[in-house]
């Protein structure tokens, strides 16, 4: 009933593996000093990242072979489970605090971020909802409002942790999906203004966010406080120049840039591999975006299109926000760079999402 399965999009797979390889090398390079200092093992993070990549690749192939309609069936259940997890994570004792946010559930290395899963579940559910109610989406009351209400309830719960990064990516992804589904431009305009107002309100409600906002414009106003990370990031990128200092030659990874293997790994990459290396990574992500959109265009049904665009939008938005932050274009939000940043759950989830995308590509007709 779904047409014949064909080979998955190999280019997408190659791009993904390329990014993954670059990521592994950079995680090692960026973390070696820090790992040696903290764990007396310069491979500490690299080894783990390799393990996560292995798990992620297995997951990717696994999901590549699960028909994506399965997610339409389970979307509602997944969403409900994720909502429950989002509530549970807020309860002290169950949810763990890391870096000032109560975002984690679980024990030690086996802990997960419910907001990450919510992001995925929301994409699956919204793809289902939009494909089933696509005719209503032009209507504000019947199409747009219900879907947006759902998204913002989830966003609100994520912001209780708070996890502005993941929340922003999720909202951005959902807006792209709703846009693709055919929502009216006039509605977007109104919602855009409302969103701006809402964002302003959010910022004003927590003064530390104002500082974050202003500090990215001139990080030297508070070089040891809110501007610290941006300055350290720019000190890495700036000296990189065209060709970079050479692989492994970063200076900022010597404890100047905190945890250089995570959110700010792109800064170390730009320091060691220069503008050429940074541009290459951006090119790979552009190609990834192109393959993703191409799959969305070729998907056999609306659900597949929406699911594909949701997944690729999520990846692209996360890249844009991450590199935007690292290069000082945006305020610091605390978000990983897909495939490159160190982190098990982030990497595994990303590869799982690519697996789903690859599955859609197997049914695509271009």
């Amino acid at each position: 009933m779904h047409g014949k399965k064909s080979a998955p999009d190999f280019l997408l797979m190659i791009i993904t593996f390329s990014l993954l390889a670059i990521g592994l090398i950079m995680v090692y390079s960026a973390s070696a000093i820090w790992a040696d200092y903290k764990f007396h093992d310069s491979f500490f993070f690299a080894k783990r990242q390799l393990l996560f990549a292995g798990i992620g690749i297995v997951a990717m192939f696994f999901f590549m072979n699960i028909d994506y309609w399965t997610w339409r069936t389970w979307a509602k259940v997944l969403l409900i489970v994720c909502f429950i997890l989002l509530v549970l994570v807020l309860i002290p004792g169950i949810g763990m605090v890391r870096n000032g946010s109560r975002s984690w559930i679980g024990i030690g290395a086996f802990s997960i971020q419910p907001s990450e899963f919510m992001k995925m579940a929301m994409i699956a559910f919204l793809a289902k909802y939009l494909s089933e109610n696509q005719k209503k989406i032009a209507s504000f009351k019947q199409g747009l409002l219900p879907s947006l209400t759902l998204v913002f309830i989830a966003f609100g719960m994520i912001m209780l942790q708070p996890d502005l990064g993941t929340g922003t990516v999720m909202v951005g992804t959902c807006v792209v999906m709703i846009f693709v589904a055919g929502a009216r431009m006039s509605h977007f305009l109104v919602l855009g203004l409302l969103g701006l107002a809402g964002f302003a309100g959010l910022v004003l409600s927590a003064p530390y966010r104002i500082k974050r906002i202003t500090s990215f414009l001139n990080p030297w106003e508070d070089p040891l406080g809110s501007g610290f990370q941006i300055i350290q990031s720019l000190y890495a990128i700036g000296p990189g120049g065209l060709f970079g200092l050479g692989l492994g030659q970063s200076r900022q990874k010597f404890f100047y840039l905190p945890e250089p293997q995570t959110d700010f790994i792109f800064a170390i990459l730009a320091e060691e591999l220069g503008f050429i290396g940074g541009s290459l990574v951006l090119l790979l992500f552009s190609l990834l975006l192109w393959r993703g959109i191409r799959i969305a265009l070729g998907a056999p049904d609306l659900y597949g299109s929406f699911l594909a665009v949701g997944i690729i939008a999520m990846v692209a938005i996360q890249v844009m926000i991450n590199i935007g932050v690292v290069t000082g274009l945006m305020p610091v939000t605390g978000i990983t760079l897909p495939f490159l940043s160190y982190g098990g759950s982030s990497l595994t989830l990303m590869l799982m999402a690519i697996g789903v995308l690859l599955n859609i590509s197997r049914y695509a007709r271009y």
Binding site: V180, G182, G238, L282, S286, L289, I293, A296
Partner: protein, 638 residues
Amino acid sequence: MRAVTVRKRLTAVLLIGFFIFAIIDIRLGYVQFVLGDMLTERAKDLWSRNIPFEPERGEIVDRNGVPLATNMSAPSVLVVPRQIENPSEVAKELARILHMPVEKAYKHVTKKTSIERIHPEGRKISNEQAKQIRDLGMKGVYIAEDSKRYYPFGSYLSHVLGFAGIDNQGLMGLELYYDKQLSGKPGSVQFYSDAKGKRMPGMADAYTPPVDGLDLKLTIDTRVQTILERELTIAEATYRPDGIIAIAMNPNNGEILGMASRPTFDPADFQNVPPEIFNRNLPIWSTYEPGSTFKIITLAAALEEKKVDLLKEHFYDPGYVKVAGATLHCWKRGGHGDQTFLEVVQNSCNPGFVELGDRLGKEKLFEYIRAFGFGEKTGIDLQGEGKGILFPLHRVGPVEQATTAFGQGVAVTPIQQVAAVAAAVNGGILYQPYIAKEWLDPVTGEVIQRQTPKAKRRVISEETSKQIRYALESVVAQGTGKGAFVDGYRVGGKTGTAQKAKDGQYLKDNHIVSFIGFAPADDPQIVVYVAVDNPRGTVQFGGVVAAPIVGNIMEDSLRALGVKPRKQQIEKETTWLDPRYVEVPNLIGLTKKDLQQQLFHLKLDGSGEGDTVVEQAPKPGAKVKEGATIRVYFGTKR
């Protein structure tokens, strides 16, 4: 139809995505290429740590290499707060050894900085304290080699040398005047470190070696300086004056051989001395009426302009002179009567000099005063030189001209007088006095820069200078300056007694008594000026107080400098007060019988077996006081 919208919007998403990626890439390029240099500079500042290397301050030595200001090892304590494991324990120990409050020490050791100095308690500590700290072996506490200025002679030449502060920076005197050359340039080791203070691998250290300060060799001769200091100490004890000034200079090139003053201070203890004492180097700072020593200038001008013949012309001094209705008295009540002009000089007769001033006229007189360097700084290489005060020419009336001619109504500095008198007796050339002779490389001792004498101008002719020397030698031998007479050394000079003025009024019984002398008169090697401010328990006359001091300084200094006594001199005119000097006759070869037949004004003290004198002390030809004892040694005639 719906599908068309979806396709269009997907394409739009793709293009928007590409657009945003492009913007991010442009931003990346902007950061790396446009902001790159600025960011690299700032990042280098962040990564680099400078460990300063202090240069050694140059030493100051006298003309013969005797050290006058040197350096002494004085370690300093540095702490690296991040490396300290137990701050409260470390603070307690440091507080105990450095004698400081524990809370203060604690503040230092916990300060959020990479390197912290314990200031001032931990600066320039003793080697003993440094050893105690080192022995404790506390992590993060370092002893840095440092040095402290050391003045081996204490309060000796202190106004000239000045002193250096805790950072070895010159604060006063030569230490300040030549601070740049003496201090050298600090060096450093710049290394790149990680954020935890450890050395970053793969980045070369940049070592900039410190450049030690140059050693300064002075024109000062410690042998002369020691004599000055000694005489001033004695005079201070004898007269309890408000102050004393002494300068010794080589008249032939302007080299200062010695300079001393009282009250003085120890440079190591300047904090406990009132600032007005160490701030004022009196020999170049104080400005006062010179009194009669200034008559040398009037004399020089009159001789150069051929307005007087010292030997042939006579002058009658009734004890006063009337100038424009005002009566100016001679210092001697009743006057000196009829005298040659040479006697006018010998007697320091005021009306006689008023006459000379009158013959010159105010224009000429002031022309010479300025030519001799008064009214402007001499330019000596010391801090805080005074300029003196001269009447502006348009305000000089007959009275001002008259008083100026004998040294009143002008204000000059001691160094101006020394330079001017040196010009008057050295053949007529005015030299700029100076004190820094040579700059030496601190390692090789090679001369890097040598100060050559700076002749400013010819003021008078050789012939005039010779006449002045003769006249001034006669002042010492036969006139008011007898106290400065040194047998064989042909001292010439002039006394001075000036009233001190305060708030436009002359003070009563409060004089600055002075004497300026030079020797030997045939070829002057040294000019010595001594001024005693308000001596107590004595007649306040320059000839009584200052002249003998100059005499003592002359005698010992000339001997120290290796100047040979002269055969020919103007013999001293004796008064009943003076002891008579007789020449020791040659007694060698005389028998006891011969001795008995001779009539001596001397006592004999014989020893030894025999009948004939084989040795005597003092030697024949030496001069001794009348009635002095001659030791003779008898032996058998060969």
